[in-house]
Amino acid sequence: MFDTGLWREIFQSINKNRTRSVLSGFTVAFAILLFTILFGLANGLNNTFSEAFVDDAANAVFIRSGRTTKAHKGLQAGRRIQFKNQDYDYIKTDFEPSIEFITSRIYRNVVASYKNEKSNYSVRAVHPDHQYLEKTKVTQGRYINQRDMDMRNKSIVIGDLVRQDLFLKEDPVGKYVNLSGIAYQVVGAYKDDGGDNEERIIYMPLTTAQQIYGNNDFVDQINLTYDPKMNYDQAIDFGVDLEKKLKKRFTVAKNDQRAIRVFNMAMQNKGINQMTSVLGILILIIGMGTLIAGIVGISNIMIFIVKERTKEIGIRKALGASPRAIVSIILIESVVVTTTAGYVGLLAGVGILEWASPSLKTYFITDPSVSRSLVIAATLTLIAAGALAGYIPAKKASNIKPIVALRDD
């Protein structure tokens, strides 16, 4: 195998029969190129899907209330349903094992001012768990904590855009901001992948908001995340059960769509998951198809090469080449050509993906790329196929009587 004479023979043969080598190499390179690009595009599509939902936790459940639309058990339609702290406690305790994080929300709009800067913002009064639900990334200071809740502290955490508007380049932590006439201390600032709107929000402790804005225990919305160990079906069942129990608690008709709404991400995710898996299967089929086309191509070329070299094989045999020497020279040549071409195809494919990546963003393809191991596996498959495809005719050729090989001029 590592006989330099053999390698010299092989490289001479590759070099002197350039058209042949380039043609067979091209087939393999093209197959790998297509394979890489197809898989890359498909991965990009997948990335787009998963990126679309990075804003909130994938296992989130939102519970909102409204007015009843149906009369039920002697209660009139049009009754307003209002969540309170006790409802939060009820959900938290009754569904305990299924819940990962839970928070209430109160919405308010405020005019915030600091020094000469002034602007309108939304306020969300929340529990400390909200940070994980919303995937908030604290960049400075800290988030709302339990101590803020207990002490009803006038602490706020501001979004990055709020920070830029009000504080310009100043460090906001510890500073006091006036929110519609009341001074709050900034304890932290955050960023959010959900976009600009999510970074224009000010968070404060739920208890503080309840005391200041209404002195009650009202809650506008309850958000939670279910235990991520649950599968989609279990999660959907959990959501249905939750909705049913809440409707019962508030004496709402079962088929009332407005009074209590439970939005479960699991439903949506299940659909997306099915879609991506179908996409995955499609990609697999296309990839396999490309590979098979490549295999067929390389097989054809190998058969042709052996045919073309029949006379040379005859000469070599007449000069004393053993069948083994004949097979190895053809096989190693084909493996060398296939490997090199496969690598070139891989590089070209990765290069094209990288180059086209920015302009593909418009077509819902984000960061298209392929795992190196996948492409290497594909190349190895082609090499093996090329070797096998070469081995059979080479073996046959090595068994031809030299006189037969020499006869056809």
């Binding site: 330099t4 043969s13 000069l319 004393g320 006189i403």
Partner: protein, 260 residues
């Protein structure tokens, strides 16, 4: 027919035994009752119908016959490019039978040098590389191969053309390269299948003069030809017809002179 066959056979035997009495002459090739047929559809074509041939070291034998007489088949069997159906074949006291492909390859490489009508040089290798190829299959080191190949190229007078591809050589030059290649592994027996078939008369005589020179140096040479003048340049003419030897005569060798 049978009578004729036996007589023919005896004749050769006589020739052979007569020669064998001269102790220092050694047998190079012994063929007895060689048969070969090729399948054609359902039937088969009996090409060689019991050939007996004895050749001694240093002979230069022409095998003549019209096409279809079996002369090429005989040469191919002698060259181990093809196998006989039955009969004995002893090459330089080595019985050639039940050859595996591998063994045949080794024998071809060690014992035989081939010269073909169509030269059969490998077209992408230059003259020197073509000559060195049999040495590669002997497992010699590259340096040694080049050295030997150069020596033989020089012998056929083409050392200056060592780096030329076959396509850059004339027919005569190609055949000389082929001869150098056949000589490279220092074979016991040179087999030439119509070596001048693709060459003009002048070049043919040139090649024949060279083969005669090799024979004079002691090489045993077998030439298949259908040209009378070429056969006349050998020391012995074996005539084949329909798969049997019709005539086997020693002749006075005509010197191939390269006429102007």
């Amino acid at each position: 027919m049978i009578y004729f066959f036996e007589q023919n056979c005896n004749n050769i035997y006589c020739v052979s035994s007569y020669r064998c009495h001269k102790k220092n002459k050694k047998s190079m090739l012994k063929i007895q009752k060689l048969h070969k047929s090729y399948p054609i559809g359902d039937s088969s074509l009996h090409v060689l119908k019991g050939i007996d041939l004895f050749v001694e070291k240093g002979e230069m034998v022409a095998i003549m016959g019209s096409s279809g007489s079996g002369k090429s088949t005989l040469l191919n069997i002698i060259g181990m490019l093809d196998e006989a159906d039955e009969g004995k074949y002893i090459l330089d006291e080595v019985p050639i039978k039940n050859l595996t492909e591998k063994k045949a390859a080794v024998y071809r490489n060690k014992f035989l040098g081939f010269i073909f009508q169509s030269f059969n040089l490998i077209n992408y290798k230059n003259a020197l590389e073509n000559v060195a190829l049999p040495l590669y299959y002997q497992g010699l080191k590259r340096k040694k191969r080049q050295e030997i190949a150069k020596f033989h190229l020089q012998k056929v007078g083409l050392l200056d053309w060592a780096t030329h591809l076959p396509s850059e050589l004339s027919g005569g030059q190609k055949q000389r390269v082929a001869i150098a290649r056949a000589l490279a592994s220092n074979p016991k027996l040179l087999l030439a299948d119509e070596p001048t078939g693709a060459l003009d008369t002048t070049t043919s005589y040139d090649i024949m003069a060279f083969l005669q020179q090799l024979n004079n140096e002691g090489k045993t040479i077998l030439i298949v030809t259908h040209e009378k003048d070429i056969a006349a340049m050998c020391k012995r003419i074996v005539r084949l017809k329909d798969g049997v030897i019709m005539e086997d005569n020693f002749v006075k060798q005509v010197k191939a002179t390269v006429d102007v």
